[in-house]
């Protein structure tokens, strides 16, 4: 494909230089995060902010993992994501199958509902959800406030609408002929969905689940609201917030915790990167 006219101008060295400078500025906070996590405390607390260190050390990481118990919070964050993401994917997969491969009354209405549900500002729902999970907790403590179960449940709900919306494309892409062949071979509807559709859509599920993972992993508001007193059930963002102390912030610890929290997202982002662009390009072509 040849480049369009707006992009046709011969690339100039100047543009490349500007791009590299901009990339440097954009990447700088991340570099600074990593650098500060590796700097010895004395260097970090000294008067001058050198953009490099000659004595990299893992002290800050050791400190947050042993003293501050970050390992525990990391595990909590992983646990919440490990339940919420597959949970949301199961709900979304079956809903996407129903909404794309069948025609029934209310189908369009439901699709619009999914789209609207995706737009609901979940930040506004903290108050009712707080009370809802307070009641849940009275019956099943594990699903109530101060427990990870509450976070798992809300994130299943929060990730599902977007996942349905994304999965429609993947489910619809499986050709009708495949379904027809399966049926001629005697496969029932559920059998077709389980043994043929599911494996075919699996790559799509992986891509979509990464989005669910990111929003669950990054969430700060709900753990902040739900985990009130149970220190041991906090997740990573809350742990990092707790490192902030009036006057004497342990910046080394904050940056080390931030690196631990940022790395998984960064890795996953590289995986979905292709979907980010191709999905959008598809949308642009309409």
């Amino acid at each position: 494909m040849s480049a369009p006219v707006v992009a046709r101008r011969r690339p100039r060295v100047g543009a490349d230089v500007v791009a590299v400078l901009v990339a440097g500025v954009v990447a700088f906070p991340l570099y600074w995060m990593l650098l500060s996590a590796l700097k010895p405390t004395t260097e970090l607390m000294s008067g001058d902010a050198l953009p490099y260190t000659l004595h990299p050390t893992l002290d800050a990481f050791a400190r947050v993992l042993s003293v501050e118990n970050v390992g525990r919070y990391l595990l909590n964050s992983v646990l919440v994501a490990a339940v919420a993401v597959p949970g949301a994917m199961i709900c979304a997969f079956f809903a996407a199958v129903a909404l794309t491969r069948y025609r029934f009354r209310l189908r369009t209405t439901l699709l619009v509902t999914v789209l609207v549900a995706q737009m609901v500002p979940v930040e506004a729902l903290t108050i009712p959800l707080f009370f809802l999970f307070r009641s849940f907790g009275a019956v099943v403590p594990e699903l109530g406030l101060n427990h990870l179960g509450s976070l798992m449940l809300v994130h299943i709900a929060f990730s599902t609408p977007f996942a349905i919306w994304m999965l429609r494309g993947f489910v619809a892409a499986v050709p009708e002929e495949v379904e027809e062949a399966a049926r001629l071979d005697g496969a029932s509807g559920p059998r077709f969905v389980r043994s043929i559709l599911f494996p075919l859509v699996a790559p799509g599920l992986v891509a979509v689940s990464i989005f669910g993972f990111i929003s669950t992993w990054n969430d700060f508001l709900y753990p902040r609201t739900f985990i009130i007193s149970a220190q041991e059930n906090q997740t990573l963002p809350l742990a990092i917030l707790n490192f902030f102390k009036p006057d004497q912030n342990d910046w080394g610890a904050i940056m080390a915790g931030s690196v631990i929290m940022t790395l998984p997202v960064l890795v996953f982002f590289v995986f979905v990167q292709r979907h980010l662009v191709s999905g959008l390009a598809g949308a642009v072509k309409g």
Binding site: V5, V6, A7, P11, A15, A19, V20, A23, V26, P29, W32, M33, D48, A49, C91, F94, A95, V97, A98, T100, R101, R103, V116, M119, P121, V122, E123, L125, I127, P128, L129, F131, A157, F162, W165, G169, V171, A172, E176, E180, S188, F211, I214, S215, N218, F220, T225, F244, N249, I254, M255, G257, F268, F269, V277, L280, A281, G282, A283, V284
Partner: protein
């Protein structure tokens, strides 16, 4: 890009339509063939598949949304929560109180100005870099996109932390550098003390982590403009400028509408960055925006009814924007 929905992230990219273009439902097979025994199953199958999603979304999105409205109509405080005082239905009094409260209007004004400035800055930076990206050699484009991907992927919490550190009064890179080049006034200067300086700092972090979405989307849009039309226009003697204005811009308009509205939605409901970077809403609440205000009313001041009313107002304002978003999607030919 925040929680979520951060979203994409949400997180990431909250409403990117799926890869592979607009899906089209295949014709139902069995109803055409009319095999008696299986039609019943065929009719009930989709409903069965919908059960988990409907239960989860009904219970944890629709019902709380309804409850949000209900709570906003009550005088609901700590005493009512613990059950030592009876619940009192007060109709729209919470709303009346808000609308008559100067503090609420200040918060609303803050939110609109702050979100508006973030949207404009994000679009300007993202748009400019998308244009720049079209004139780059592949290697420098890769460098630019990789750096942007890093910013995009950074969680709101850790992004806020590192930006706070960069702008720390004494130990921050920015103040130390400014002091080193002779601007002694910045020694120990607090960037979060002044209201608008604090907003600007939070805004900078938000632009940093949200411009990549705009850049990537617009870049894909520009690349997607069919070359043939442009060739034809060029043969007809149109100048590059004319082609950009009369052909590329109109084709890009729906994409522009989508990134604009998406940015409005994200920036309007920012929570984490404000909460973390200004310590829960700034000195004397000077940096409160609607979401943080609602949270503080409910969970710090135990005014759950009032907090819910703020939540309802936020939701309504966002719904208006969302309707505009749906129209833009529709115009773009997204099929349901």
């Amino acid at each position: 890009m925040t929680a979520t929905h951060a979203a994409l992230p949400a997180a990431g990219g909250a409403t990117l339509p799926a890869a592979g273009g607009a899906p089209r439902p295949p014709r139902p097979l069995l109803s055409r063939r009319g095999r008696g025994t299986t039609t019943w199953a065929r009719r009930w199958e989709p409903r069965f598949y919908l059960v988990p999603a409907v239960v989860v979304l009904g219970g944890l999105l629709a019902y709380p949304l309804y409850q949000l409205v209900v709570v906003s109509l009550y005088d609901y405080r700590q005493a009512n929560v613990s059950g030592s005082a009876p619940l009192r239905f007060i109709g729209l009094q919470n709303y009346a109180r808000l609308l008559g409260d100067e503090a609420f209007w200040t918060v609303l004004g803050n939110t609109v100005v702050f979100a508006g400035a973030c949207v404009v800055a994000t679009l300007a930076v993202g748009g400019a870099l998308a244009l720049l990206a079209t004139r780059l050699r592949p290697w420098s484009r890769t460098v630019l996109f990789l750096a942007s991907l890093g910013a995009w992927a950074t969680p709101a919490m850790t992004g806020s932390a590192v930006w706070l550190f960069l702008f720390d009064p004494t130990l921050g890179f920015v103040n130390q550098t400014l002091t080193a080049i002779g601007l002694d006034g910045f020694a120990g200067h607090s960037w979060t003390y002044d209201k608008w300086s604090a907003f600007a700092l939070v805004g900078a972090e938000i632009v940093w982590c949200s411009f990549p979405f705009v850049m990537v989307t617009l870049y894909a849009g520009i690349i997607g403009v069919p070359t043939e039309i442009q060739e034809a226009a060029r043969l007809d003697g149109a100048s590059t400028w004319r082609i950009a204005l009369s052909i590329v811009a109109p084709i890009l308009r729906p994409v522009l509408a989508i990134v604009t509205i998406q940015s409005i939605i994200w920036d309007f409901k920012v929570f984490t960055q404000i909460y973390v970077m200004t310590g829960g809403g700034g000195i004397a609440g000077q940096n409160l925006v609607l979401n943080v205000y609602s949270y503080q009313q409910a969970f710090a001041a135990s005014q759950y009814g009032l907090g819910s009313a703020v939540g309802v107002i936020t939701t309504l304002l966002l719904m208006v924007v969302t309707l505009a978003y749906l129209r833009a999607l529709r115009r773009q030919g997204e099929e349901l």
